[in-house]
């Protein structure tokens, strides 16, 4: 039995599907449209698949960074931070076989966080944003209980590998099961085969997403690497089907 305060808006953005689930009855519907308008703007600016996007033009040398919207410099600065933090495993400039500049590993989470900011500004405090499988939850879905976030089983689409309970959290999962072996270590462009999936939870979806991508590409050593990132916790499924997660992650698995 769903409560009448649940409003969901679903749209295709950035090659996947975003949904926003708003639970604050006093917040008007307009904020959902506003949030999606912002997401489409980010897509048009950052898509490596749109020839006219600022990222594509920047990559071809047709624009300088100063010519671009300030968000481009902000995202590329994030990419550079992550390139250093991952010792080159994550590299927006060097992971694509065709050599195109592609900050997608950061943009989706960053854009979802921006959408959360739009909802915050409108006074919403109880909502869930699902960005193609990466999740931000805030507040509560209904008074008195936390959000229940399933982690998809990497081999069985209709089964869960884990269930998290959280009130304010960002959860991202990387794996090779959905879009094929598309995550690689930028240092050598080899595709990681040690993990079936890597889920990362923490305060920021931008970083959860980036750490999941990088940690997955690192393979088993990525589990310890993610756990060493302050505030973030890994939950990994290895190729042998074993589950490994940190103490930090366990708090969400057991919370009611």
């Amino acid at each position: 039995m769903m409560t009448s305060t649940r409003r969901i808006k679903v749209e295709h953005v950035m090659g996947t599907v975003f949904s926003i689930d708003l639970r604050d009855p006093e917040v008007g519907d307009a904020v959902l449209d506003e949030a999606f308008t912002g997401l489409h703007q980010v897509d048009q600016r950052f898509s490596p698949f749109m020839a006219a996007s600022e990222i594509s033009r920047l990559g071809r040398g047709e624009l300088t960074l100063d010519d671009c919207h300030p968000d481009v410099a902000a995202v590329l600065a994030l990419c550079e931070d992550l390139r250093q933090a991952t010792r080159g495993v994550f590299n927006a400039w060097g992971w694509r076989a065709d050599g195109r500049l592609d900050p997608s590993g950061v943009v989706k989470g960053w854009a979802a966080e921006r959408a959360a900011g739009v909802l915050d500004q409108a006074g919403a405090s109880n909502f869930c944003i699902n960005a193609g499988g990466d999740v931000i939850v805030r507040g509560e879905p209904e008074p008195g209980r936390s959000w229940r976030i399933g982690v998809r089983h990497p081999q069985e689409p209709l089964a869960l590998a884990a269930l998290l309970h959280a009130r304010d959290l960002a959860v991202a999962t990387s794996g090779a099961y959905e879009r094929g072996d598309h995550i690689s270590d930028a240092r050598n462009r080899e595709v990681s085969r040690e993990l079936l999936s890597m889920t990362v939870a923490g305060p920021s979806l931008t970083l959860s997403d980036a750490y999941a991508t990088a940690g997955f590409a690192m393979g088993e050593s990525g589990i310890a690497w993610v756990a060493a990132q302050p505030g973030y916790a890994p939950y990994a499924v290895t190729r042998e089907g074993r589950v490994r997660y940190s103490d930090g992650f366990a708090t969400w698995l057991s919370a009611g």
Binding site: T16, L160, E178
Partner: protein, 154 residues
């Protein structure tokens, strides 16, 4: 920092180490777990040092009572060595002698649980989830996903 939860994970490791001593698999342990738990570079220890006072065999579990020091086992996360106390055929205490990253800020990562994925699996339909995290789906995959069902259930 060595939180209480650490003990649980260490027991899992310790159980693996104990099983390396080539005792019979205890009846109450899950049959598929032990082999997988020790597959990560662990080396069997042929002769555990037994320091307990006159350990008595426990037929029910296959564990003999006593205190056992496991061989130093190299894992992905560093060296692991534990001391396990068995009483009445069951593990009653596990003391970590050596755990990885003890001197580093990342102490928490030495406490990994390692269950089989199968043990964690829940059917999405019965779990009453609000949302689903998974590797980025294409539009087609989304249409067939649990998240799509959740987004329609309003």
């Amino acid at each position: 920092m060595m939180p209480t939860r650490a003990a649980v994970a260490i027991v899992a490791t310790a159980l693996a180490v104990v099983l390396l001593f080539s005792f019979k698999t205890p009846a109450q342990s899950r049959p598929r777990t032990p082999a997988a738990d020790v597959s990560q570079g662990a080396t069997p220890s042929p002769s555990p040092s037994v320091s307990g006072a006159s350990p008595s065999p426990s037929v029910a579990s296959g564990f003999k009572d006593g205190t056992y020091t496991g061989q130093d086992v190299f894992t992905q996360f560093g060296d692991v060595q534990v001391k396990v106390t068995i009483a009445g055929g069951r593990i009653t205490d596990v003391q970590p002698l050596q755990m990885p990253f003890e001197k580093q800020r990342s102490a928490e990562i030495s406490q990994f649980a390692g269950p089989q994925l199968h043990d964690e699996v829940l059917q999405a339909q019965s779990a009453q989830i609000d949302t689903l995290s998974g590797a980025t789906y294409t539009s087609d995959a989304y249409a067939q996903s649990v998240q799509a069902a959740l987004d329609q259930a309003h």
